[in-house]
Subunit: 177 residues, 2 copies
Amino acid sequence: MRMKWFAAAGLSLLAMGKELSYTDKGEMVFPEHYREWVWLSSGLGMSYDATAQANSDLSFDNVFVSPEAYRSFMATGTWPNGSVFMLEVRASHNRGSINQAGHFQGDLEAIEAHVKDNGKWAFYSFGKETKPGRLFPRDAGCYSCHEQHGAVDTTFVQFYPTLLKVAQEKKTLEEKK
Amino acid sequence: MRMKWFAAAGLSLLAMGKELSYTDKGEMVFPEHYREWVWLSSGLGMSYDATAQANSDLSFDNVFVSPEAYRSFMATGTWPNGSVFMLEVRASHNRGSINQAGHFQGDLEAIEAHVKDNGKWAFYSFGKETKPGRLFPRDAGCYSCHEQHGAVDTTFVQFYPTLLKVAQEKKTLEEKK
């Protein structure tokens, strides 16, 4: 039945149960197929620092979520245990091929993960590597910022336009700025 | 066997054979699950017009490809018949929630498709609708621009960083600017 549901929803089978696993040192195993997961949105040069330079070394942020978590969110507006978000940071370029204005994406700069396990969220850093990711220390700024500002269960659903509508419908959006 | 392959590759089952179909008027049926397809890249305000204003009404371009076409490209560096690209254009916003600089994505502005069928490519326009898409006339600029500048078989692989590496490895990149 579960496989049938996945097939009907057009979602990945491989990903089931393999999105989140750890080494015996407690590092997160790199989810090598994350670019085939469900993409949520991309931003360019986003910053909560108003003094950030608008045009210096802008990076794109691409966010992907594991297929099973996506399915659950579309049905409930909430994230189940085992949810994995992958943040991919890429360089931006202005001129290239026929492009004369605006920005397109270039080389990988960093990969980070945000995962929910046993009811708790954690962040892992992979850098540019596919080796297991290191846990961000619990006092790192990512934890407090996501807790204070993430609109659904510490995640930035306010920046994912298609999920935002689901959270509004399901009334799971928290009043955060 | 084919289903097994799809499962092993983590790709969609639903999408098989349903990505590209037409009404009896020759319009393209809207592929309602395209946001669960494989995302290729997003650009912001891209233009081949050097006089384009850098900061006025910038839009994001998000490109998705049908899972079966993606699988084929990763194996061969080429696009099979039945390949479907979906271009989603969204508004960009600068200030919102905690964001003070840079751009995040907003409302849908337009959806277009680029499809390969019987060896020929065609473009369809959906606007903001999920109704069947109208064929762009053959003298529309999209055809000549993609033919002249698309780096692989009229597609802009030069702007999709992960596919660009595959095309380089498979030696399917055409010498275009």
